[in-house]
Amino acid sequence: MTSTTYTATSSGPAASGDNYLTHTRGIASWIFTLDHKRIGVMYLIAIMASLGLGGAFAGLLRTELIEPGETIMSADMYNQMFTLHGAVMIFLFIIPGIPAALGNFILPIMLGAKDVAFPRLNLASFYLWCFGALFFVLVLATGGLDTGWTLYTPFSTSTTTQVTWAATGAFILGFSSIFTGINFIATVHTMRPPGMTWHRMPLFIWALYATAIIQVLATPVLGITLLLLAVERVFHIGFFDPTIGGDPILFQHFFWFYSHPAVYIMILPAMGIISETISVFSRKHIFGYTFIAYSSVAIAIFGFLVWGHHMFTSGQSVVASMIFSALTFSVSIPSAIKVFNWLATMYRGSIWLATPMIYALMFIFLFGIGGLTGLFLGALAANVHLHDTYFVVSHFHYVMFGGTLIAFLAGLHYWWPKMFGRMYSEFWARLSALLVFIGFNVTFFPQFVLGTRGMPRRYYDYEGLLARNPQFKLDHQLSTIGTYLLIVAFVIMLIYLLHSLVAGRRAPANPWGGATLEWQCSSPPPHDNFPSAPLVGDPYDFSKLTYDAQTEGYRIDAVRAQTEAPHPDA
């Protein structure tokens, strides 16, 4: 049934016809595309490859740690492994991650728009990602990097590994991030459809918007810091080298001034995805929309004020440490608010445990642990013991992997049918999710214990600690076995996702019953997203949607829709 106000919800091979994937053909039509959807897909492939590379480094370094002493590599190689694992995961996967791969695809469609505000800038962002990644490949091929992803001076100004190339690569990647941020800000400000006021915007958009603010304001600081580092190495100016008047701690201030907001770049879009999925799969209006929306902005702002909590044991003054600790706790409150609101959304909902929902619930569990362990690290006295230990490693993996990556998987499984027009196997997806959950906890929970009991981070070998801590060996072995389980889970995921592309059931326009605008166009969307501007309602009002058994999807019931006239907001 079609109407003049709503686009036809089409599905099935006969109706799909032309879509953004088939609209033009040939490799040049991809390399030079201005279509945000194609750019999103290219980003998706690129970041998934980066995830694989970063994961490989993790698998290797954890294999080294399964036994004390040398297992499969030398100390120098190990130091390269943990450095490259961090650098690849952070700069190539997790920071671009959700905004670039999912945001690029979904944001314009969620706004009922044809594309982002600056399509060419969008393509430029992708090219910059590729160019920056090329530098990382260069680093890998010519001596690697052994400084830790944090590049602390004076080690990073004196080591003979390829710091300058790596800094250049990260500098370029920074611009990719900045351009994406500029694009999203402009798009959200100028391209919302009639009727979509700020308070009628989906929460994923609020999240991407807050993230974009951070990207634009914080990333230039990283750029300059990396530039100073490179200049220091090449020209020995004396910014950070104490032997010629510099201050190594200055580097830490500059570095963390970006890198702390960066973690909010990582987590805010993830939380946006959780808001969407919890609501849709509870078939209930998101609880506390306004509080969730503004908590994203609050996190973005407060995130700029807490960088010194990485430096409590650096010799930083007591006063500074006190202020940073107090402010650090302020960031925890908006995050807690979100979690309570998500739970309240589920209350009296109608919960469907499809794969996206499983990942969303997994997020609440894992991010819950990750966020709460942040409290330990923000408290000054506890931080003294826990800083630079495995406790920190576990904390940030719980928030970055258990948080961002799990939310990314939720989003990927939620929007996969929309992006590719195919359904994946729910059985294999759930199995993989179970393995991810078990593998993750087996890998990282023992690391909390390692940290509290005395295991420093970035240690190639723990032989010297076994005399007074014989249990460290078991903790490390558990951690490594969990890693292997995770690898198995991800391999299964890759297989069923790729399989769905060729043999999956064709997806209806709205398989999950979402009320945001992207579910009103076909799966996959046509080249122009919408033939005419769609009409905007409440993005969390599911009452207008009915299940259509024939298409195995949801459609807007025109009768219900017409009895509720859309509210004309100013």
Binding site: N79, P154, I337, G368, A382
Partner: protein
């Protein structure tokens, strides 16, 4: 308010035999553990609450055909304010708990016993007020000890988990930390700021001794340097300056990052540039002050220069030590020094030879030092690859010769 002030005391009972924390061994550990367990129980409560609600909702409100979901509001200002205010109050208390403990840990007692700490890639040197340098931290029980710390190269960090004490060591300025250990005992001291190849080998031991025993140890240890032969002084330097982390001195010529030194004096060495040389005093001096001028075949240019860090006498002592690394070499050196000393005492006092007592003293400390050596260097690094040391300009010799072609093994 009494519940709040007593809460930490309740938590303090968790200290021993715990799952999370090693037994506390300093007066600072209490505040740290209190903060930790306060946060732990609060976190546990909220986490279990959240997970329980989640699971209950998933079961209770699962989608079933024909079951109509009940209406529920989409917002509640009262609820929002409640779950904002309560967490806010909780974190304020957590902050307070963390802050008070930290303030105490960073306020050094006026009468603290000062020990200087120098960190370098990859060992520690603890220097006592009487000038004695030790690779391990001996300290008196029941007295506050202050560490005045610096690094010679990159940032390191000193952590004693049992004490819950940690502070970075930064090149170019001093940092300090303090602690008091009420009971005698032995504890791990680790480097916990990544510093390169030997980061995980940079271990030391904290030996807390009853005060009288500590002072006796210190007096004994300091005497070791008196009347010691140059070779024995060199042995001490070899241990304290980090040489042992890369060069073995045992007869078996154990493999480490750098060439083994047993029996090298008088050998002919081949270099990577095709040249060769006989190992004599000049060659050894060059190897210490300009190590990358000649690289032995099979090794890489990665040793830091000691130019500016050792004076001429110290370099000579090291050379004498290396010369003595042959069968009976150290014994001869010790005997020569003892004889010298005895002879000088004879002249001064006209008494009989008292050389044996001297030898006993040096032996006692010698064994401690080799054990510490072994502990310290048991994780002998066998990797090769890039190392720090080219950028610091107090080692100008290194800049030109240490080129960037040190490649890691694949």
């Amino acid at each position: 308010m009494s519940l709040l002030t007593n809460l930490p005391l309740l938590l303090a009972q968790q200290r021993d035999n715990s799952f999370w924390m090693p037994p506390p061994a300093s007066t600072s550990a209490g505040a740290v553990d209190d903060a930790f367990y306060l946060i732990y129980y609060i976190s546990l409560f909220f986490f279990l609450l959240i997970v329980a609600l989640m699971l209950v909702f998933v079961v209770l409100y699962r989608r079933r055909p024909g079951i109509e979901q009940k209406k529920a509001p989409a917002h509640s200002t009262a609820l929002e304010v409640t779950w904002t205010i309560i967490p806010l109050l909780v974190v304020i208390y957590i902050f307070y708990s963390g802050f008070t403990g930290y303030l105490e840990m960073r306020t050094v007692p006026r009468d603290a016993y000062e020990i200087q700490v120098t960190a370098r890639q990859y060992n520690w040197t603890f220097t006592y007020p009487n000038g004695y340098e030790s690779p391990n931290l001996h300290m008196p029980a029941g007295e506050p000890v202050m560490l005045l710390m610096k690094s010679e190269d990159v940032i390191h960090s000193l952590w004693v988990p049992d004490f819950r004490v940690k502070m970075d060591l930064v090149p170019g300025h001093y940092t300090r930390t303090w602690f008091e250990a009420p009971e005698p005992g032995v504890h791990d001291l680790v480097c916990t700021e990544y510093c390169g190849t030997g980061h995980s080998a940079m271990l030391a031991t904290v030996v807390v001794q009853p005060p009288s025993e500590f002072r006796a140890w210190l007096a004994d240890a300091a005497k070791f340097a008196e009347g010691a032969s140059p070779a024995e002084r060199g042995q001490l330097l070899f241990r304290n300056q980090g040489c042992a982390s890369c060069h073995s001195v045992d007869e078996a010529r154990s493999a480490k990052v750098g060439p083994p030194l047993w029996g090298v004096f008088g050998e002919t060495h081949q270099f990577t540039d095709g040249g060769s040389a006989v190992v004599d005093e000049n060659y050894l001096r060059e190897s210490i002050l300009n190590p990358n001028a000649k690289i032995r075949e099979g090794y890489r240019a990665q040793m830091n220069s000691y130019q500016g860090l050792l004076d001429d006498q110290q370099v000579m002592d090291l050379i004498q030590y290396i010369k003595a690394l042959r069968p009976g070499g150290m014994e001869e050196a010790k005997a020569a020094a003892a004889a010298e000393k005895a002879g000088a005492e004879d002249e001064a006092n006209g008494d009989a030879d008292t050389g044996d007592a001297n030898a006993d003293q040096t032996g006692a400390d010698g064994s401690e030092s080799t054990q510490a050596d072994a502990e310290q260097t048991s994780n002998g690094q066998t990797g090769t690859g890039g190392d720090a040391g080219t950028g610091s300009s107090d080692r100008p010799d290194n800049d030109a010769s240490s080129s960037g072609d040190a490649q890691p093994d694949s």
